[in-house]
Symmetry: C2
Subunit: 369 residues, 2 copies
Amino acid sequence: MPFGFELIKKDRSTGARLGKITTPHGEVDTPAFMPVGTQGTVKALRPDDLSACGAQMILGNTYHLYLRPGHDLIGKMGGLHSFMNWPGPILTDSGGFQVFSLGALRKILPDGVRFRSHIDGSLHMLTPAKAIEIQEALGSDIMMCLDECTPYPATRRQTLDSLTLTTKWAALCREAKKNDHQALFGIVQGGMFMDLRRQSLEELVRLDFDGYALGGVSVGEPKDQMYAVTSEIAPLLPASRPRYLMGVGTPADIVHGVSCGIDLFDCVMPTRCARHGLLFTNKEKIVIKNARWREDTAPLDETCDCYTCKNFSRGYLRHLYVAGEILAMILNTLHNIRFYMRLMENIREALRRDDFAAFQKDFQNQEIF
Amino acid sequence: MPFGFELIKKDRSTGARLGKITTPHGEVDTPAFMPVGTQGTVKALRPDDLSACGAQMILGNTYHLYLRPGHDLIGKMGGLHSFMNWPGPILTDSGGFQVFSLGALRKILPDGVRFRSHIDGSLHMLTPAKAIEIQEALGSDIMMCLDECTPYPATRRQTLDSLTLTTKWAALCREAKKNDHQALFGIVQGGMFMDLRRQSLEELVRLDFDGYALGGVSVGEPKDQMYAVTSEIAPLLPASRPRYLMGVGTPADIVHGVSCGIDLFDCVMPTRCARHGLLFTNKEKIVIKNARWREDTAPLDETCDCYTCKNFSRGYLRHLYVAGEILAMILNTLHNIRFYMRLMENIREALRRDDFAAFQKDFQNQEIF
């Protein structure tokens, strides 16, 4: 199946949309959350765990896979789907965000970013063409353009320069792309300046991408600024293409993003929190190491249908976490990913019922997240 | 079901036996290998993974569970089966071996062992009655007597003193035992002195245990001495009771033990090796971090039916291991445990076919282990 997006329904009172993305590796019901599989694995989970949790599409990190084991190797091994035995859709980022995060180890040049590997210090150059070459070797269903992720805070001048570079690189990515079966998304930058966001968006739409992402959010800005950018810009993204809010976020961020018309999310939050013993439930956030759970025979969340909640008590999970057992990471991650997947299922169900505004209000009233 | 042992068949040309242990939590086909679940989990595996690998009985470590989370807590939570959600049989050790391994942190006294916790330095006393009290709170199907594990090397005098203490403590364990539904095994000591081994055995048999173990093996002695003790003493253990070779061992040690008439084994080898990237196959031992596996698209073992071998390449497993991913531990452990379980299945099948001597010869000729 070629790449496609079907807009099934638009909510009456918010910007929320119910949709379906079609890819060569299957369909994704949107709004969707993509668990992050940084190094060719969603940490602590097996592919069949991900499927059991209801995950449909996962994210792979180009930067990490390029450095180790290398995109050439993964290409030789049949691509990332085959390498990690994940049969479903995969979106890969461009590697840009991780490279920019290297700080002193990288230098932005007009043609790309020169950086040193965080693993062995070796010198590399990531250009738009290289970002596409890597993602084509990985064989993801959705590739992302190399962009310059504008930092926060940034002056208007810096932000304009950054978005100009991003547009230039987006055009080069578009040109470099060879594979028809892989989709390519553009990334809207423009920082906290709404007119620059609109400028970026217009320049990218002229290049005609298969989908559009909001980048440069969740980079340290106050939450109300992130919400303001999402609220104002998401509705302007082409309605006929998937809209992706990169690196977001908390359950509340996701519900807000959906209400603005976002279709795709990704974040390390559920997996990273799980490994640090912070667990999401519909009643509270649980810090599992706390002594109050010591003798608790109840599951994490009575309403949850995950393997962890169906089989283990909070007391046992606390013991595993305190004892530093690998099983703690496994069971915690299973639960948090299932929690995020249930959130997305509930959002889609509310949209199907034409009831999203009420769902959002209920969700906000809980004030858990 | 009460505890019982059925001797199904004795091999014609070796001491090997095919049998079945019955416990309140189900049956165990023998010869059997017990994966070690030190802290209430077999490291990196879920209970359903263990069942899928074919494990029937697992071992729990009294020392670790006593210190953390505490046997009282586990008792309150319904016992170890319920706490860790393992529905099958569990054997618990007495805690003695771990306490003796503390070295300078412990002192052997006539009534028991005084020791400091390796976790917080707190002072504790493990006596025969305490070892039983803990194991009764844990609710294991098979409990072990507190013994003094004779170190290697030891003089005849030390060995005699040690076995005298072991017999005295075994009698006290027998007396302390309250629960009818939990079986209790005695542990034969006597070091490398065959006459002392026989003396220990006779003293224990007089006390009448539900099963008998060979202890004080695999404690640093040369392999031929371990094999000599097993060969000479295992056949003298009461034929109507299960025979357990504690803490053993490599696949070769297990095949040898079976040929001497041993029914039960436990060892951290398959799980610990897995976490260090040493993987067992029917052709070779694989050190998965080696560069030679980098581009290898074959499974670890073509003949293996485990989740790892059915879904992943050596190249991917190498990547996961080198990248330090949790999934490396999970997939490696699944494979090694399945390897051990298949070994035991093959041993039992050979015994059923009256073909164990040929199996043993074939196995030894491979010279892999």
